[in-house]
């Protein structure tokens, strides 16, 4: 059998990373996007997303990759993935209109034998209702992690595939494609696969919510969550890779979307989901952690303070600012001047009337009464607390993710505020 040709409709973060990952396994890949300028930029090697190793991989496997803004080019594919973005509103609810339009367009362009695989996040029940013969229609769970997308796309832990009839073997081209990744394959009915994606995220949120809840308690009773989490990871029932690092609420959009979907479905069918509502409440509460500290430790003592903010992206190694805690903080510091620095996101993304773009992390700290390290970019770890102390006007360093070494910060005469431990205990 000749290798199947694989298409990706929608050169989004998910689509682009998946396309390049599939090309790296030796398949011919056609990446389609309706936006001609985006396609031209990608074809010229200017990728619109930031991911470690992605640019190198796109160059290395360029011979397997074709990019096009012509829908008709997808007719050459044996399998076409739907990999568009599904936007969410402020409540985390999906707008499915764009994906429905794209699916209808792609179905018209498909070769008669070709398969369609929905790869983007859709609510349970979506795939089964699409207008294509069930034996040609699949849903596949994506587990993209911003900042680790290449690793996830090339070395998946397993494939979860939603089918009309999980008892029937997958079509040969699809089995060949997935087999190339050498990982377990779990076929199941469409609704199970769609809910499996949500279930994964709910489990992650549950872990993070436990970490956030007990980290806050640690801050108040003199414990240090940083000491507790490693002990939990050695418990096999919890696991070495469990999400136990406390954070500033959920961000990025996808987890929030899945919680909103569970709440909506549970409300509609009458199942009990109050724990999920509690996850949402806890996330919202922890999101304002830095704002509360800024007021308590800085503004309560100095009404006209200046802040330095490091990081605008919602997490390290990404350009995305969706629900970014940093932007959420900055929005509420409007009365005070801020200096910001992010290695990727421009300062203009900050929702603030008096923002100064600093050229480096140290420059952002210069003259600041407090420095807030809102995204744990690796380069911030290299900051020298002694130099920070010399550059800053004040002594407060708000470092939720413990980017800096607490002992070194303390030795520099700075007050270090981290998630999971009180400043006194830290």
């Amino acid at each position: 059998m000749t290798q199947p040709v694989i298409g990706f409709a929608g050169l989004t973060h998910l689509g682009l990373v998946s396309a390049i990952g599939t090309a790296s396994k030796g398949f011919a890949v056609i990446g389609y996007d309706a936006e001609a300028a985006r396609v031209a930029a990608i074809a010229a090697g200017r990728l619109p997303v930031v991911e470690p190793d992605l640019d190198d991989m796109a160059r290395t496997f360029a011979r397997n990759l074709t990019y096009s803004d012509r829908l008709g080019d997808l007719a050459r594919c044996d399998i076409v993935y739907i990999s568009t973005d599904v936007p969410t509103d402020d409540r985390g609810e999906s707008d499915l209109s764009a994906i429905r339009t794209l699916v209808a367009d792609v179905i018209r362009a498909l070769a008669p034998h070709a398969l369609l695989v929905v790869l983007c996040q859709v609510p349970p029940g979506f795939t089964r209702r699409l207008p294509l013969a069930p034996e040609r229609l699949y849903y596949q769970v994506e587990t993209l992690v911003f900042g680790r997308a290449v690793e996830r796309a090339t070395k998946p832990e397993r494939f979860i595939v939603g089918c009309a009839d999980p008892a029937r073997p997958l079509p040969a081209p699809y089995a060949a494609l997935l087999g190339a990744f050498g990982c377990p394959l779990l076929p199941m009915r469409y609704e199970s696969a769609e809910l499996a994606k949500i279930a994964i995220n709910c489990c992650l949120v549950a872990s993070v919510s436990v970490a956030n809840t007990l980290a806050e308690l640690s801050e108040r009773i003199g414990a240090d969550w940083g000491e507790i989490a490693p002990a939990l990871r050695l418990d096999r029932r919890i696991g070495a890779y469990s999400y136990l690092a406390p954070g500033l609420g959920l961000a990025g959009g996808n987890l929030e979307r899945d919680l909103a979907t569970v709440l909506r479905l549970s409300e509609a069918c009458g199942s009990e989901a109050s724990v999920v509502a509690a996850f949402v409440r806890n996330s919202r509460h922890r999101r304002d952690w830095a704002l509360r500290i800024a007021h308590r430790e800085v503004l309560a003592r100095k009404a006209d303070a200046t802040f330095g903010v490091l990081g605008l992206a919602y997490k390290e190694n990404t350009h995305s600012t969706k629900n970014s805690p940093s932007l959420g903080l900055i929005e509420h510091l409007k009365p005070w001047p801020i200096r910001v620095y992010d290695p990727v996101v421009p300062a203009s993304a900050a929702p603030h009337p008096a923002v100064t773009a600093a050229t480096s992390a140290l420059e952002a700290a210069r003259g600041a009464d407090a420095l807030l390290i809102m995204t744990p970019w690796p380069e911030f770890r290299a900051l020298d607390p002694q130099k920070l102390a010399a550059a800053m006007a004040g002594r407060v360093v708000v470092d939720p993710y413990r980017v800096l070494d607490p002992a070194a910060v303390r030795a520099a005469g700075l007050s270090h505020f981290v998630l999971g431990a009180s400043a006194a205990a830290n």
């Binding site: 509460h285 304002d288 704002l291 308590r296």
Partner: protein, 288 residues
Amino acid sequence: MLEHSHQTPKAPSRVVVVGAGGFVGGAIAQELAHGGVPVLGLTRKEADLLADGAAADLAARLQVDDSVVLVSALAPARTPAMLVQNLRMAEAVGQALAARPVAHLVYISSDAVYADDANPVTERSACQPSSLHGMMHAARELMLRSEIKVPLAILRPSLLYGARDPHNGYGPNRFRRLAQKGEPITLFGEGEEQRDHILIDDVARLAALVLAHRSRGVLNVATGVSTSFRGVAEKVVAMSGKHSEIRGTPRQNPITHRHFDVADGLKAFPRFRYTPLEAGLATAMQPI
């Protein structure tokens, strides 16, 4: 969460304080007057909300560009009869505002609308009152929300203290008076319960801000710092210069605490600062 109709504060053309004869209403009227805002203070004498024709009388006093602060209540509402009277008062105000819509309505409610165990309380905590007083405020809020087309701000203060407090309830108000007389302060249990105590001046300053921004929505009035009753007693005794004994008693009821997450307040009024408890107690202990 509050939304401001005026991002830049703008003095209201006139504020009608319904319930200006009381502890809270008086403080708000005074704060506004100090700020140069024209105030029409209505006490029970000028506007008895339980009298026949109360709605029409109130409506006749209102102008279209007025802001109204409704603080009048028979408080605390301890009996079903008081609950019903309070609702009738709100009904009269509702009818007056339906007949004569104004520019803005600020309702002074209470944190008693929340469940006792809602910690940390936010503006999104469910209204689940455990007292008639809390139910009274929750019902009044709903009456105003559903019946009146005027932009509405609801302020839900925590426990209030101040020099002019008339209730002398358990807490800073009673404790400081006892301490100033050198008399013993008796605690429930060991006074372990933590509460967020608010200086009355802060409620008045915040109400003035809400009026100037013509804000809509709900805001808790709380400092974000809770202190035990014993802690309050110890502070006022230390400040009094006398030597009141602080007495514990066998505990009759389980310990409950109240804490607030005040992030919404920090967002609504970033520059507003509450008076810290010690400074507030010092103010309250000054001779009037």
